[in-house]
Amino acid sequence: MRKRILLFLIFFIIVFLVIFSLMNGAVKTSLKDITDVFFNGSANTPDYIRTIIMDIRLPRIIMALLVGMMLASTGTVVQTVYQNPLADPYIIGISASATFGAVLAFILKVPDLMYGVFAFVSCVITSFLIFRLSNAGKKLNTATLLIVGIAVSSFLGAFTSFAMYMIGEDSFKIIMWTMGYLGGATWSKILFMIIPLVFSITVFLYFRNDLDLLMSGEEEAHSMGVNVSRLKKSMLVITALVVAFSVAFSGMIGFVGLIVPHTVRLLFGCSNKKLIPLSTITGGLFLLACDTISRLVLAPMEIPIGIITSFFGAPFFLYLAFNKKGGMNR
């Protein structure tokens, strides 16, 4: 019962946030403007209001929801694969590799939509490298995880920084990649992100029970009928795909994949059947909230969203690292 109420609350907050976010910003719009634009065509509202709502704010809100969903769901799965609640694509360096791929694509001047593909290739390579480095994905202790994460992030970050340095004044786009930015949302980008999101959530849910078994460790999972290495590898490829697309279109946004699954685990338990959908929804909610904050706190100036999530996420990370209690033991 309590869980039902929580679930209802999550939906309610999302709806509220979407409306609030549509209304507020550098230009304020009224609730009437919004209903007019959506339901009465644009006859009664000025064109600029329509543009703000339909072409700027709404795509951005949807983008925030989608990226949040992607980050939270992949965080959940990566934590299961590495059997460590601190494993998150951002922390173990997968996000940094996606940025590296995207920056490479930018330097090579390929079309925008190819950024995702470049990021994906770089992500898959790095994921498997991390997987090998970390003792083939066996239950990982936190120290190994962090060492690998720092090393990979720094190494790939060096390339990204070098690119920024060489490009000089025009490096705004790269800076946005390293800080996370949802301002560039367009309907076509949204379309490009929905595909990996829907695909990955479907696959994650399909394997929900196998992922549960993985939480008992490799040996026991194997004895209960899971082809452990194949499952882990396929999960890594899919998480790489999702992280790559989210980073290519919105930059590195840290800690979402850490805060959200952990909170959901505490509230709803560890079973992946519930954890995956709930993390996904809550992830969308969380990132939309962060994005709304990033737009409004210093309006009309915007704070890159990665700064907001890191601001909340890093202390949370410390808390998790030093607090033995939690949904998933180490």
């Binding site: 239950k139 078994l213 939480m215 008992s216």
Partner: protein, 274 residues
């Protein structure tokens, strides 16, 4: 006739020293067999070879006459289930959820997931193993003995024909230890399954197991019933201990060490500093 049979199995981690050295063993159907021997003699490694978790470099392993090489984990898990000494479970699941894990291998349609039949089996096991009290509690909050019983329930949920146990009772007190041993024995006597366990407690093993395999340096040295293999000579050879073999009223042997084993020289020196 044989439920598990291995022929000259050799296994080494990373291709170095052989942990298993021409390990040949045959396990009778519906027996409760124990593999015993000193620490590091390859018992646990052997169990993991039978589980197909490791692949032997040489030799063959057959389960019910079928070579397990190339058998898929899903095929294996329907015949063989496994109970570790200590589960590496890292997630906070309820006891019922944990038992349901054993049903995953029987899921026919992954989109639908568990059926009512699966839930019934789990419910029956909860009842059968006296777990009603904990069924909806977090598995990680249970005591060692209760947790082992849950693991047993999970293993039985797989509806296996063979149960492999790796030191299932090593961290349990006497009561819980006997409880687990008694349940497994009953399952074999009722001819529901065959059990092969790595065990350490010689006296407990004598009470419950029908067949004993003594291992040393990666191969079987002696095998037989407890009465046949519990002799001073064999215990001396396997463990390097002088022991007295006594008998209970029913004739079950039990072993009392006569002397302390020699403390290795280096240890003695360290102790002198203390």
């Amino acid at each position: 006739m044989w439920d598990i049979s291995t022929q000259e199995v050799c296994f080494a981690y990373g291709g170095k020293i052989n942990i298993l050295n021409n390990m040949s063993i045959s396990i009778r159907k519906h027996s409760f067999s124990a593999v015993m021997g000193p620490n590091g003699c390859g018992k646990s490694t052997f169990i993991r070879n039978i589980l197909n978790f490791y692949t032997p470099q040489k030799g063959s392993i057959e389960i019910r006459g079928i070579n397990i090489k190339g058998m898929k984990p899903t095929e294996m898990a329907k015949i063989v289930s496994f109970i570790p000494q200590k589960s590496s479970l890292s997630a906070d699941l309820t006891v019922r959820d944990l038992i349901m894990m054993g049903r995953v291998v029987h899921i026919k349609n992954k989109w639908i997931g568990f059926t009512r039949h699966d839930k019934e089996i789990a419910d029956n096991l909860v009842e059968q193993l006296n777990l009603e009290k904990f069924a909806d509690r977090s598995a990680l909050s249970l005591s060692g003995g209760e947790f082992q019983r849950v693991l047993l329930a999970r293993a039985l949920a797989q509806e296996p024909e063979i149960l492999l146990l790796d030191e299932p009772t090593s961290s349990l007190d006497m009561k819980y230890c006997m409880e687990i041993m008694a349940i497994v024995r009953e399952l074999t006597v009722k001819k529901e399954l065959t059990a092969l366990a790595v065990l350490h407690d010689l006296n407990m093993t004598a009470m419950y197991c029908s067949d004993i395999f003594f291992m040393k340096d990666g191969s079987v040295r002696y095998h037989g019933t407890p009465r046949q293999v519990y002799t001073s000579e064999i215990i001396k050879d396997i463990y390097g201990i002088d022991a007295l073999i006594l008998k209970t009223e029913e004739g079950t042997p039990f072993i009392v060490p006569k002397t302390h084993p020699a403390i290795p020289a280096k240890k003695e020196k360290e102790m002198a500093y203390v």
